[in-house]
Amino acid sequence: MTRAMTTKKMTRVQQLTRRVMSLASVLVAGTVVHSPRVADACSVCTAGRDEENQLAFLLSTIGMSLMPLVAIGTLVFVLWRRIQKLEVETAAGREPGRLNEHTPRA
């Protein structure tokens, strides 16, 4: 009888614990969802204070991210174009010209 009551109490404690854990999970999830405004508050910069500042950060990030890609891409494109031109000259049986395509007079 006593053992049965103890088991019943344990089950209630477990149920209560589960409810508390569920509630805590909801609270944590809610806090995470609603906390980004707090996360914006950076101690070393003024980001998020106004629209112009946010725009400056956004454009700088985009610019700095794309800059190396564009620069290296341009160099690769120039090399590819020159190799293509060399291939055409080679296929045509011509002796490919020197760099800058000329032989200066002395």
Partner: protein, 196 residues
């Protein structure tokens, strides 16, 4: 075109020279890529600081000479065009490239001297590297560009001396010109972001 039956040679077998891009131009291109990132970083930081300020430029600081620097910008552009012309002339007649090359060097030197005069005038008016964020960024960004311009003028003078002695190779001229084009091309961005 069948490149398998007729393979291309990136290095000339007779002369041993690169056919696609000279080593100097390739090395300078890679160096310029790093320089682009350097200037991008500085201008990006300046833009954010500028956007963060409630009042810009700082009210107690002197105004930058926008009109005078526009004239200097035109001189730098003209210098770049003259160097391009010198490169074109060099392809047909080496001797005829001398005049535009010297004119390009002269205009580049004028640009640097004008910048020096502008700095002296700004310092006299109270804009120093520690007086405000405007002064700090102004001397940092414009000074970095000026250092590049001075080095590029040194390279142009070396190129001119090689031309005078008949030692100048097309790839050497192309390498130096590429660096000067970078100096010329970076300036409008600096002028737009810092002065305007």
């Amino acid at each position: 075109m069948d490149s398998h039956s007729n393979p291309i040679h990136l290095i000339s077998e007779e002369r041993g020279e690169p056919r696609v891009m000279s080593n100097g131009v390739l090395g300078m291109s890679l160096f310029i890529l790093t320089e682009i990132m350097l200037f991008s970083g500085m201008i990006s930081a300046f833009s954010i600081v500028r956007a963060s300020s409630a009042i810009w430029p700082p009210p107690d600081q002197p105004r930058l000479p926008v009109e005078e620097t526009a004239l200097n910008t035109a001189a730098l552009f003209l210098s770049g065009l003259l160097l391009y012309w010198a490169q074109q002339r060099f392809k047909t007649d080496r001797a005829s490239a001398r005049t535009p090359l010297v004119a390009s060097i002269a205009l580049g030197t004028f640009f640097i001297l004008f910048q020096g005069w502008e700095w002296a005038s700004m310092l006299a008016q109270g804009l120093t590297i520690t007086s405000s964020t405007l002064g700090a960024f102004f001397y940092l960004i414009v000074g970095t560009h000026a250092i590049h311009a001075i080095v590029a003028i040194g390279l142009l003078i070396s190129t001119w001396r090689r031309l005078e002695r008949g030692w100048l190779q097309p790839s050497q001229l192309a390498t130096t010109a590429l660096f000067w084009y970078f100096v010329v091309g970076a300036w409008p961005v600096v002028y737009w972001r810092v002065y305007l």
